[in-house]
């Protein structure tokens, strides 16, 4: 049972579904920054918060979640800027 579970987790199917959905949304105009922001925020698992609080305490989890949400926005902005610069460079080269 343990190995079945770990094997199933190894290639996370849900992750692939999410990435495929994001690829669809990208084709419809979603920016890379928003995709990065979404993927970073997937790390905050609300249903698993009780377990996390049990192991690390509510103060730690609260601070960690807050900082992670903040950083996800920063990551989105950084990736958006990098890809916008690349787009402009490509346009200038053409």
């Amino acid at each position: 049972m343990v190995f079945c579970n770990s094997g199933r987790d190894f290639i996370n199917r849900t992750y692939l579904y999410v990435v495929s959905l994001l690829a669809d949304l990208k084709n419809k105009g979603l920016s890379y920054g928003l995709i990065a922001c979404f993927l970073y925020n997937r790390a905050i698992k609300i249903p698993l918060l009780p377990i996390a609080i049990f192991y690390f305490g509510w103060k730690y989890i609260l601070v960690l979640s807050f900082v992670m949400i903040l950083m996800s926005v920063i990551q989105g902005i950084v990736i958006d800027k990098i890809f916008r610069k690349n787009k402009i460079k490509r346009r200038n080269n053409l």
Binding site: I11, L22, P47, L48, I51, Y60, V63
Partner: protein, 137 residues
């Protein structure tokens, strides 16, 4: 609210086999691997510890519940909270194993940049979290 509680308890029940399996595996590992091994891997240097924690988290994959249990056990083995935080964050945000799939679907450049920035941010987030906690406590 009631629906949310039911959904959360259902997902907790679903992840129960994973939790049980991980606890059983960790109890085996904790007997096999002595405490000195963790002390050997994680130095006293906090910055280096967070990098090592991030690296271990990056190459690992699986359910976040597993990372919580691993993190909790690492804390009891004497690993610093900074390293454990970096490990927890990089476990879920950096996916070296999922990188080929991500690059195939979303583009190689994006996947590389995202994972690289997530790795760097996992160290920064862990440092900020610990600093805030030190101020709060």
């Amino acid at each position: 609210m009631k629906q949310a509680i039911i959904k959360s308890s259902k997902s907790l029940l679903k992840s129960f086999p994973i939790i049980l399996g991980t606890i059983l595996l960790i109890s085996l590992i904790s007997v096999i691997i002595p405490k000195s091994f963790y002390i050997m891997i994680f130095s006293e240097d906090l910055f280096l510890d967070s990098i090592i924690g991030s690296l271990i988290g990056s190459i690992s994959a699986g359910n976040p519940v597993t990372s919580y249990i691993f993190g909790g056990e690492m804390l009891t083995q004497g690993v610093s909270l900074l390293a454990v935080t970096a490990f927890l964050i990089s476990w879920v945000t950096v996916g070296l194993i999922q990188l080929p799939a991500e690059s195939a679907i979303l583009g190689k450049k994006f996947a590389l940049f995202r994972n690289l920035t997530a790795f760097i941010l996992s160290i920064i987030v862990s440092v900020i979290t610990i600093l805030i906690l030190e101020v709060l406590i």
